[in-house]
């Protein structure tokens, strides 16, 4: 029918709308995956990988199991399954635009919610079907489980995963802040702990496994009904839905883009905006702002601490003759990164609208970077001095760390900021 000739609504009921959203969701996910796995990847990696995997799987059934698998403890299987249970969430296929009209049609909303929940649980079930299919040769041939025991474990795993997904979702859309993490910990850890304990009884008391599966299913049914009856969580539903839908995209882009930061209202450190440096000159205040900005930024601070930790380990394992060389190289790397951070800070939109002169920026950079570098050089020089010179190292490490930090940052500053 042409558009002009259309005489009916595009979606006369919620089921049609849900179907449309489901197809659109699949298209969206496949488009995201195709950005990473195009035909070239498919041809050269996925197809040969699939064929090789298929051959291996055939071997697990028809040939002797690999030697490494013979001595594996059974509890490794539930451990792997627990990881899978904890992974993923629910997709309800709700959209922000539903706020405009659809939310007034509660029956439509309920239909979409119901089908979204059902769809998510079916996807979860399919995921475990695949996992069990892969584990089956080891369960049957390696651990010599009977088919009823495998079915019982499968039922338990499935029921537990439904339970965890639904309880986790209920917490995510209702709780905020530390309460969210506390409840989420309980919603995930308690069912998984029960699952883990019950799964270990597969050989002795298989009936317990089935009974536990029934209990998990009952809890899941209650959680399902509770979710359908829940009101006032629309914005959180949409937010969680978006997170789940963008999960693959987030994985693909995690090395390319920074993770969006949650909105924070208060800084975690220097909470009273107290001056950091004694001097009140413009350059000092500029430097202090940069130091605070680095420490308050979780990604930057994590990188700083991670590099310091790795450097500390590296310093300890480097042979004595090369420790000082390693120290200089690692300090140079850290200085390079700190000057890159400085450039990023100075290039920010807000700093851009302030009339700091080029000289002031260079002066402030030459002030901020050595201060930021000092904790790193102090820790690493302490490790070197103590490991090489024993108690004498206590006297040495402070002046050495200070001088080397200052010297290297001055050299880098000359090149990066044109300041000497």
């Amino acid at each position: 029918m042409s558009k002009q000739g259309q005489r009916a609504f595009a979606f006369s009921n919620a089921k049609q709308l849900f179907r449309r959203r489901l197809f659109s969701h699949w298209r969206e996910q496949s488009a995201i995956i195709r950005t990473a796995a195009d035909w070239t990847v498919l041809l050269y990696i996925l197809i040969p990988g699939g064929l090789l995997g298929g051959r291996l799987y055939y071997g697990f059934w028809n040939e002797a199991l690999p030697a490494w698998s013979v001595n594996l403890p059974f509890m490794l299987i539930p451990s792997l399954l627990v990881l899978l249970i904890c992974n993923g969430g629910l997709v309800l296929l709700l959209q922000e635009g539903d706020l405009l009209f659809l939310r007034q049609r509660q029956r439509w909303m309920n239909t979409i919610l119901f089908r979204g929940l059902l769809y998510s649980l079916i996807v979860t079930s399919l995921k475990f079907c695949v996992a069990f299919a892969l584990l089956l040769p080891f369960l049957i041939r390696g651990f010599e489980m009977t088919s009823s025991e495998v079915w019982a474990l499968f039922a338990l795993t499935l029921a537990c995963s439904w339970c965890v997904k639904l309880l986790g979702h209920l917490v995510k859309v209702q709780k905020q802040g530390w309460r969210r993490w506390l409840w989420l910990f309980l919603a995930i850890s308690v069912p998984n702990a029960i699952y883990f304990r019950v799964a270990s009884l597969w050989n002795d008391r298989p009936i317990i496994i089935l009974l536990s599966a029934v209990v998990f299913t009952v809890v899941a049914i209650f959680a399902f009904r509770w979710r359908l009856l829940m009101r006032g969580t629309f914005m959180n539903d949409v937010r969680e839905d978006y997170k789940q839908r963008m999960k693959i995209a987030a994985i693909l882009l995690r090395h390319v883009l920074d993770k969006p930061r949650p909105t924070r209202h208060k800084p975690w450190i220097f909470r009273k905006s107290q001056p950091l440096l004694k001097s009140k000159t413009a350059e000092s205040r500029f430097s202090a702002a940069a130091i605070k900005a680095l420490i308050r930024n979780p990604a930057h601070l994590k990188l700083y601490l991670a590099f310091t930790a790795v450097s500390a380990v590296a310093i300890l394992i480097i042979p004595s003759g090369f420790k000082w060389l390693g120290f200089v190289v690692l300090t140079s790397l850290m200085t390079f990164w700190l000057f890159s951070f400085w450039s990023l800070f100075v290039g920010d939109d807000y700093i851009g609208i302030l009339p700091f002169t080029k000289e002031q920026k260079a002066e402030a950079g030459m002030h901020a970077v050595p201060i930021l570098l000092l904790p790193f050089t102090m820790i690493t020089s302490a490790l070197i001095c103590l490991s090489l010179y024993g108690w004498w190292g206590i006297i040495l490490f402070v002046p050495v760390g200070y001088m080397v930090g200052l010297f290297i940052s001055r050299i880098f500053g000359t090149f990066r900021l044109g300041k000497d």
Partner: protein, 246 residues
């Protein structure tokens, strides 16, 4: 790139603090969006830059701030310090610095003494009702609070000219009143104000003169009386004149 000239006069003649002569300006070379726009802002004067969406108000502001490459314009800032403060429509801030630290950094950049900064910042925090969030991060502020922060940054440095883009968007009546009171005080001090706005009823009450831009050109300029004459609507409101001329 054609020609751009943004200068600071070494001597202030008359009372002019901002002199703008834009022959043409645009975002792409060879495709100008605004033409023949000229106006002056005098000491203590509040000049309203008004016009419909897409008329060229923002392009005019970007041109006089020197943010566009493809311009043929002459912009001169005069006054005692030859300084200006730009209050953008969209708030600009650094995510990891608190409100107080934003003010501190701006004061440092404009060369304010710390004691003077502390006194002025405390007064502004009180005037804008932002004292309770002085140590909070602006990312968590509401839209109106972010706008207030931008206004406070502008008022902090007491420049010769204020260039304010849509200041009333997101402000509650209390904040609007406070903003207008502060603006009045600054005008009495001798600062000139160029204000781009859509809020015509407020503009009609507070602006001394207007530049009405339509289709990238000046459709009318002068006092409200002059605008009425252009529109041929004596006694009409600015809103009606706007409707007639755009």
């Amino acid at each position: 790139m054609e020609k751009e000239e943004t200068t600071v006069d070494t001597e202030s003649y008359d009372d002019i603090v901002l002199d703008v002569e834009i022959d043409e300006a645009g975002y792409e070379a060879g495709d100008p969006c605004i033409f023949d726009i000229s106006f002056q802002v005098k000491r203590g004067q509040l000049l309203g830059l008004i016009g419909p969406n897409g008329a060229g108000k923002s392009t005019t502001i970007k041109t006089l701030l020197g943010l566009l490459k493809n311009t043929k314009a002459k912009v001169s800032f005069s006054g005692v310090n030859k300084s200006y403060a730009y209050v953008p429509e969209q708030p600009v801030f650094y995510e990891d610095l608190t409100l107080w630290e934003h003010l501190d950094l701006a004061a440092a950049a404009y060369g304010l003494k710390y004691e003077q900064f502390e006194e002025t910042a405390e007064r502004l925090l009180k005037q804008f009702g932002m004292g309770h969030v002085r140590n909070d991060l602006p990312a968590g502020f509401s839209k109106g609070m972010k706008q207030k922060m931008m206004l406070m940054l502008g008022f902090l440095v007491q420049p010769d000219v204020y260039i304010v883009d849509e200041p009333f968007i997101g402000l509650d009546p209390r904040a609007t009143k406070d903003f207008l009171r502060l603006l009045e005080a600054e005008r009495k001090r001798g600062a000139g104000v160029l204000m781009s706005t859509h809020v015509l009823d407020t503009a009609e009450k507070i602006c001394d003169d207007f530049v009405l831009i339509s289709g990238g050109k000046v459709a009318a300029s002068g006092t409200l009386e002059d605008i009425r004459d252009y529109a041929g609507l004596p006694e009409a409101s600015l809103f009606d004149c706007f409707d007639e001329l755009t």
